[in-house]
């Protein structure tokens, strides 16, 4: 089948997609966007988290055809050529990146959390962060520095919004 959707603001069209392929597979293998990761391919680890029409989803659980005509946002769309997104910079500064395989999914999930929290008027508290990121597995860090990174990102994004 042919799939047409918008990825990181650019319209993409791919042909010969097999109906059984996931959005994750199409992003990685057909669109040249391997940033979203394939740690479990069963919706348990969050490493493939992308925005679908603004909502974070596990792209491994989205059939490619479900993305038809919709807007997809991946980790590759977060930074500009010149500057990292504040969430990306915070993960680096906090030391929250080791092997980095969980990182792309966590960046999308964190961006969603911080954006929602700030829109609601306050940066997320620890317990909220833990709940929001409970679907993103990390095997390297023990999560402490990820918490630090989320809080650092929230502080910086809150300041820059003022």
């Amino acid at each position: 089948m042919r799939l047409t959707c918008t990825v990181n603001g650019t319209e993409q069209q791919v042909d010969d997609v097999w109906e059984g392929e996931s959005l994750l597979y199409v992003l990685r293998e057909r669109m040249g966007l391997p940033g979203s990761k394939n740690a479990c391919e069963q919706g348990e680890c969050g490493s493939c988290t992308v925005y679908l029409d603004g909502t974070p989803v596990c792209s491994c659980l989205v059939a490619a055809g479900q993305a038809e005509g919709r807007e997809v946002g991946t980790v590759e769309g977060m930074a500009t050529d010149e500057a990292l997104h504040p969430v990306q910079q915070a993960f680096l500064d906090a030391g929250a990146v080791q092997c980095g395989f969980c990182t792309p999914g966590l960046l999308v999930a964190t961006d969603d959390l911080v954006t929602r929290s700030l829109a609601a008027g306050a940066p997320p508290e620890d317990a909220e962060i833990r709940e929001a990121l409970a679907g993103n597995l990390c095997r390297c860090t023990g999560y402490e520095k990820i918490l630090d990174a989320v809080k650092l990102a929230a502080t910086r994004m809150s300041e820059s919004a003022r």
Partner: protein, 784 residues
């Protein structure tokens, strides 16, 4: 006919990265920006226009004879380019890290569920999988051997038995998995009185379940056939050169024709020390003349790598009424599964450090590794020391209870210190601050009572308790572990360091084959070069087999050994540069040093750009830590280990005693790291290692029934989430080891060892239950 070698999308380039940070600084990772941009290519991200996908057909049975294999139906599937079996392996048909006993593809017999039997290459992964399912394998199914003690023919708990292990005949012919029998290694430690007595004796039997490394990046790589008839393999692995040796043997090709490059590695923790898809992808690429990518999914990953050995351990501790340890007897069984992997070395660690960081005059240890038809077990972070720590630390708590002593007091009273003798007779010749680690933990403030908020309760927002039935417990544990390879292994690393001026800027290039698996070795390599050569711009070359072996990224050894090699190569480069500067300036070498891109001395600043011009100064050398020696086979005595790492944990838990749910409230850790080369990365290792130890204590286990894995998914094999990991307090001690570069100690494994036993001790204190098995499950706490 082979295709010309080309470079795949995602082939690693040099890392230049941030330009500052020497030894002791929180330098930033050179691969960090790529990783947060989603541009860092892992093994599974590699891609070529005309690549094929390889998949593996695995045995559904833990033990069976293969009567026949019919690949015809698979070959008939459109899109399939090759189907291979063991007949297609041109070289040695078996491989292995220490003993070559594991078939590349099953030969006549399968010895574990998931053993690779055949391979398929096709133009789409689903086509390959569908074709593999059409291969017809006729199995004669045998009864599996699923228990290590039974596999050895030992009566359960033969503490009296001494001398060579007697492997009795089991009742059936197939009970010997391998020609030499089911014993992989028996290690003995014998010191002091063979028949000691003591005022107080505690005896217990402990079990540790099978843990999975659960690295997130699946086993993956891309093999590209080369014009010379060889192959280029880009792969996520831990030790390129030991892979190369095994691949060459299987392919019957010389090392020049099997060139490996490290692809991005999504965590390892020991699980990539053995081969997975390496030979398979090469076989398919050489057969089809096309690049072949293989990438396991999560279920296959559970079958595609070795796990941590499950262990059954019987310990007997004797002490005086005052709490001085008189003797320890230990009998330790590691279930190695179907193939040896690194079982001999795991037994080495389990036995030689099997009673913990304590001084005991009379010791009698028997440590066994056995073949069974369970999944093969090998390296995982903590390597043979994790299992025994659960037993010996539980024993210390049991003994303290028997004596009416404080558990920390008992530990401190018997703790090793510098100058103590280990049970191997080895004198601990660098700081061993066991007492200080424990005392510092004790001095840390304790967390307050849990707030009245479901999210802080065991069971969380599942709303299982509002505090009723919840009891708090506090537990301590301390452990030690060898750093680097032991028992006489020629353990070295190779570093190539080049200093030149590029675009007017002094630039150092560091080239080693040491695998970066996430821990941050690439950062450490840059930091060392900056410190030793006074140059900010340090490029880390791709890790490949174009430079000599760096040894394995395991045993907490790379910062020590490859760090040592990089330091030594930098020193050699520096020596040549300073000699040149001395000749130019007439100043003695002894007055000169390198700083900020220049040769400096009193009243002298000679920029490297000026001194070197277009010349490069390059040195390649091998560096070894001081040698260790094999232990005596009858007594276990010898200088077995080059260095020890010490860490201690305090765990605070809340347990819902009615439902058996555990909430770890806080973890505290103290660790002596000798010298923190990168403090931020050291803390990251402690936090991550602590999480994996916590996981084994309360949730992580590959469940095996009759040799079959019951839970090969992240749905059913649980690893800690951000909800499970509590806040941590960490204190890092830096007592230099005079034998090591910068005085450093390996860091990665120690915190993985003491963490779990502390959690177990805390649960035990909260519940009053003996708890002799990990992971602790709710039914162990409720008795249901």
């Amino acid at each position: 006919m082979s295709a010309p070698a080309r470079t795949p999308a995602g082939a690693p380039g040099s890392l230049t990265g941030p330009g500052s940070g020497g030894v002791g600084d929180d330098a930033a990772r050179p691969d960090g920006t790529l990783k947060v941009r989603g541009e860092f290519a892992y093994g599974s991200d590699l891609w070529m226009e005309d690549m094929l996908w390889g998949v593996t057909l695995r045995s559904p049975h833990p033990y069976a004879r293969i009567r026949s294999i019919d690949v015809g139906p698979a070959l008939a599937v459109p899109g399939v380019k090759a189907v291979l079996t063991s007949d297609d392996v041109p070289g040695e048909k078996v491989y292995g890290l220490e003993l070559a006993d594991q078939p590349v593809l099953a030969v006549d017999v399968v010895r574990y569920q998931g053993e690779p039997v055949a391979l398929v290459a096709a133009d789409h992964p689903e086509t390959a999988r569908a074709a593999a399912a059409r291969i017809v394998v006729d199995y004669e199914v045998w009864e599996p051997v699923t228990d290590a003690i039974t596999a050895l023919g030992h009566p359960h708990w033969n503490q009296v038995h001494d001398g060579t292990a007697r492997v009795t005949e089991l009742s059936r012919e197939s009970a010997h998995l391998h020609p030499e029998g089911n014993l992989v290694r028996h290690l003995k430690v014998r010191t002091g009185d063979p028949a000691p007595t003591a005022d107080v004796v505690v005896v217990n039997t402990y079990e540790v379940g099978m843990q999975d490394q659960a690295f997130l990046g699946p086993e993956s790589g891309l093999a590209v056939p080369a014009e010379d008839g060889g192959v280029e393999l880009y792969v996520a692995t831990q030790w390129l050169h030991v892979d190369q040796r095994q691949i060459c043997s299987a392919l019957s090709l010389p090392p020049e024709q099997v060139r490996l490059t490290l692809a991005g590695v999504g965590g390892a923790f020991g699980g990539r020390e053995d081969l997975s898809m390496h030979v398979h992808a090469c076989l398919l690429a050489l057969r089809t003349g096309k690049p072949v990518k293989m990438s396991y999914n999560r279920e296959e990953s559970f079958f595609g790598h070795v796990h941590r050995h499950p262990a059954t351990m019987r310990y007997e501790h004797g002490a005086t009424r005052d709490g001085d340890l008189v003797y320890v007897k230990a009998e330790i069984y590691f279930d190695g599964g179907a193939y040896a992997s690194s079982t001999p070395a795991v037994v080495g660690n389990g036995g030689t450090m099997g009673i913990g960081p304590y001084v005991v005059p009379n010791v009698h240890v028997d440590c066994y590794g056995a073949y069974t038809n369970n999944p093969p077990c090998g390296a995982m972070r903590g390597f043979g020391s994790v299992q025994t720590a659960f037993a010996y630390e539980s024993q210390m708590d049991a003994l303290a209870a028997e004596l009416g002593m404080d558990p920390v007091e008992l530990r401190c009273r018997n703790a090793m210190e510098q100058g103590s003798k280990a049970i191997t007779g080895q004198v601990i010749d660098s700081p061993a601050p066991v007492v200080e680690l424990l005392r510092r933990l004790e001095a840390m403030p304790l967390p307050g009572a849990a707030p009245d908020d479901l999210r802080h309760m065991p069971g969380g927002v599942s709303n299982t308790t509002h505090g009723e039935g919840v009891r708090r417990g506090i537990g301590y544990a301390v452990s030690y572990k060898n750093v680097a390879f032991s028992e006489g292994f020629d353990d070295y690393s190779t570093a190539r360091v080049r200093l030149e001026v590029v675009g007017g800027e002094p630039t150092v290039t560091v080239h080693t084959a040491a695998a970066e698996v996430g821990q941050g070795l690439v950062t450490v390599e840059q930091q060392i070069a900056r410190t030793e050569l006074g140059v900010d711009r340090v490029v880390v070359a791709p890790k490949d087999t174009q430079v000599g072996s760096a040894g394995s990224t395991s045993a907490s050894r790379q910062t020590y050994v490859t760090g040592g090699a990089v330091k030594a190569a930098c020193e050699a480069v520096r020596g040549r540069v300073l000699e040149r500067a001395a000749a130019t300036t007439g100043r003695p070498v002894g007055e000169l040093r390198l700083f900020d891109g220049a040769v400096v001395a009193d009243g002298l600043e000679l920029p490297l750009a000026e001194l070197l011009g277009d010349d490069a100064v390059e040195e390649t050398l091998e560096w070894r830590h001081r040698p260790t020696e094999a232990i005596d086979p009858e007594t276990g005595q010898g200088f077995a280990h080059v260095q020890y790492a010490f860490s201690a944990h305090r765990a605070v838990v809340d347990v819902d005693t009615e439902l058996g749910l555990v909430k770890v409230v806080e973890m505290a850790c103290t660790q002596d790291v000798g010298k923190a080369i990168n403090p931020q990365a050291v803390v990251g290792q402690i936090q991550g290692g602590t999480a994996q130890g916590l996981g084994l204590a309360v949730m992580e286990e590959i469940l095996i029934k009759d040799g079959r894995v019951q839970n090969p998914s992240f749905t059913d094999y649980l690893i800690p989430t951000i909800l499970d990991m509590p806040p941590m307090r960490i204190e890092i001690l830096e007592y230099a080891d005079p034998h090591a570069p910068y005085g450093l100690r390996g860091v990665g494994e120690a915190p993985n060892i003491s963490s779990g036993p502390a959690v177990l001790a805390a649960i035990r204190q909260a519940t009053g239950l003996p708890l002799t098995r990990v992971p602790v499950r709710p039914e162990h706490l409720t008795g249901t």
